[in-house]
């Protein structure tokens, strides 16, 4: 029987005057793959970071089924950020071991879990190599192994196939499918609708910090009265997307003034005849 694992209750997140996420309420059930779909700056990463306990909501609450706040129970989560976040001077296994040790997992248990998934991802021969020379695909696979080594209940993946070649992306999707088959819960952020349709059994459309739709692909088509997910997405997100919010750093007044002192404004005359 499916039960709710993670709850977001009327969650908002602001960075200064910027409202990155507004009034989001969600329940994530176990044994499901949930896709967060949206364009750049939609708020997917902010939402994932709140689910991971990295950001605290400005309003509302992110909590687990037992009522505990997520930042108190991070051991139930496995997180793969978009940047993968591997230490280049450590081997793949050392990266994985560092995380599993922080999770309080014995090295031998982490190793056996790692080996099991490494075979699926076809990376078992590279576990003792430094990650410095790893391709984007290898890095992504290592980050996945690292997130799985402590046996999390929920796996949070931020753009897991971004920048991967076709084969690597396929392997990652197969792993997600396998995790789902084994009863795992995956929250999968992507801006590829086709991928979301292929992997996820529930799709949440995020646009400009709000949830525009939430349901199975069939439900989204019904809701928008369209024939394809792409059309459904366009009809749900018709207004112009805003720029990325959380990365917008406003320099101080003095810094701006100083910068202007050393900035020349160039104006060129344009010859219409040319």
């Amino acid at each position: 029987m499916n039960e709710n694992l993670l709850h977001l209750t009327d969650v908002s997140k602001s960075f200064g005057d910027v409202h990155a996420i507004e009034h989001v309420s969600l329940n994530i059930q176990n044994k499901s793959v949930v896709g967060l779909v949206g364009g750049n700056g939609a708020g997917k990463t902010t939402l994932l970071r709140m689910m991971a306990g990295i950001y605290k909501p400005t309003k509302g609450r992110v909590h687990l089924k037992d009522g505990k706040n997520v930042d108190e129970m991070r051991s139930v989560l496995g997180v793969v950020p978009e940047s993968t976040g591997l230490y280049s001077k450590l081997t793949a296994w050392e990266n994985i071991r560092f995380h599993s040790r922080i999770h309080g997992i014995d090295d031998s248990i982490a190793w056996s879990r790692t080996l099991r998934f490494a075979e699926l991802l076809d990376i078992q021969d590279s576990l003792h190599r430094y990650t410095e020379g790893f391709s984007r695909g290898m890095r992504q696979k290592t980050a996945l192994l690292r997130a799985l080594a402590h046996g999390p209940s929920i796996l949070l993946l931020d753009e897991p196939t971004a920048g991967l070649d076709v084969t690597s992306a396929r392997i990652v999707r197969k792993l997600v499918q396998k995790l789902k088959d084994e009863g795992g819960t995956v929250i999968y952020s992507t801006h590829h609708l086709a991928e979301a349709e292929q992997v996820c059994d529930r799709i949440i459309i995020v646009h400009n910090g709000t949830i525009r739709a939430d349901g199975t692909p069939e439900e989204l088509l019904q809701l928008t009265d369209t024939n394809s997910l792409e059309e459904a997405y366009v009809s749900l997100t018709s207004e112009v997307a805003r720029p990325r919010q959380e990365d917008t750093i406003t320099p101080s007044k003095f810094a701006l003034l100083w910068r202007r002192l050393f900035t020349r404004s160039h104006r060129y005359e344009v010859n219409e005849d040319e």
Binding site: R74, G85, I102, H103, G104, A143
Partner: protein
């Protein structure tokens, strides 16, 4: 600050150190350079100085003597000092013998290394030596001329005293030290060494600690953010305080190893290579322990401050721009403490952060454990350490540390 689990802190510190040490350049900077620096200096310095002195002694210098009459003994003295002499008359129109007139061009063109002017007025000889102080050869020529003149003056004085029927020795030295001067110093060799070292050990310790902590502090904070590894770290069941303390422990360990190796190199150099110049200081166990505590507290403050400022920075470049002048500014309290007289030092000095630890280092190297001072500097330093760690914890708790701001 939230509860800190030592196990989590240790795992973070171990990872940071492992990553840091795997860079071979770090090993060279952290182990080889500190360990070899002072022994090399102690070997190279005397060798270079000795060679230079020998070269200078073998040097033949050109002197122009301007005089209307020269005593034969003066000339003889000059000739014994590897000096080539040309003699001309004194130039006309001199206000004093030290007035260069047009003769400066002879020195600037290196035609002569020095010009000796001599004039006898009644029973007294007047002289001056024109030279170019920016030329080592000219300075050497001046010194040789002065040596020769001094020898001549001594002989002339003795001759004149004896001609007057007096005993030259008792007339020239009516008051004299009996015995060996150094025997009269009741300070032991070890105490004297402590005094000498107290003038520069605090300087080098403070500067090493401050400079050695810069790079790891930047690398483990804003460096980690720039490399994109911080987000996955923050998603772990690890509090920000544990993360800070783990990184703090790693930077303190790396800095401590670097400083300890430099001190080892320094003491090795003193004990085996410069034993004629400096003895190993003799200090009590209590002083050694307090010295270690003083360096530890200083390191705690510096590292926490650096971690906080580096974490505040938007990029590695900005962190470098902020921390480099702070490291250089450390020279101010360091130099200040060199001029404070420890015999009647007021207690308030021990309440000034950073200055107090440096003063404490000086006192302890002299093996002076003054309870009042010790209580003040330990209390103040612990309080300031607490404040700096709090400040660092505040920076680590900021949500925007995860965002790449470069």
């Amino acid at each position: 600050m939230s509860k800190i689990r030592f196990a989590q802190m240790r795992i973070v510190a171990k990872k940071e150190i492992m990553e840091f040490v795997r860079d071979w350049r770090t090993i060279v900077a952290l182990i080889l350079v500190p360990l070899m620096l002072f022994p090399l200096l102690f070997i190279a310095f005397p060798l270079v100085m000795q060679n230079e002195a020998e070269e200078l002694q073998e040097l033949n210098v050109e002197i122009l003597v301007q005089s209307d009459y020269i005593d034969e003994d003066i000339l003889q003295g000059l000739n014994q000092s590897n000096i080539s002499i040309s003699i001309v008359s004194l130039p006309p129109g001199l206000d004093s013998l030290s007035d260069p007139l047009n003769d400066s061009s002879l020195l600037r063109s290196y035609e002569y290394d020095a010009i000796l002017r001599l004039e006898q007025r009644n029973e007294t000889w007047f002289y001056s030596v024109l030279f170019l102080s920016t030329s080592e050869q000219s300075t050497e020529a001046r010194n040789r001329v002065l040596d020769a003149l001094n020898t001549w003056e001594t002989n002339e004085t003795i001759e004149r005293i004896e001609a007057g029927g007096l005993d030259a020795d008792s007339t020239l030295n009516p008051l004299r030290w009996d015995g060996i001067i150094s025997d009269a110093d009741v300070a032991t060799k070890g105490e004297q060494a402590g005094m000498l070292l107290s003038l520069f050990i605090p300087f080098v310790l403070a500067l090493w600690t401050a400079s050695a902590a810069v790079q790891p502090a930047i690398d483990m904070t804003v460096g980690e953010r720039e490399r994109g590894t911080l987000e996955s770290l923050l998603s772990l069941p690890l509090s920000r305080s544990e993360l800070l303390m783990g990184k703090w422990l790693a930077v303190v360990t790396i800095t401590g190893v670097g400083v300890a190796l430099q001190v080892t190199g320094l003491l090795f150099g003193i004990a085996f290579l410069a034993e004629d110049l400096v003895n190993v200081p003799s200090i009590s166990i209590a002083s050694v322990l307090l010295l270690t505590l003083a360096v530890g507290l200083y390191g705690t403050m510096i590292v926490a401050l650096y971690l906080a400022l580096a974490m505040r920075s938007k990029s590695v470049k900005e962190a470098g721009t902020v921390l480099t002048p702070i490291t250089l500014a450390m020279i101010v309290p360091i130099l200040l403490t060199q001029f404070i007289n420890l015999d009647d030092v007021e207690s308030f000095w021990f309440a000034i952060p950073f200055v107090n630890v440096l003063l404490a280092l000086r006192e302890l190297l002299l093996d002076r454990v003054i309870l009042e001072h010790v209580i003040i500097w330990i209390s103040v330093s612990i309080f300031v350490s607490f404040l700096t760690i709090r400040y660092a914890a505040k920076q680590f708790s900021r949500e925007d540390i995860v965002t790449s701001r470069s």
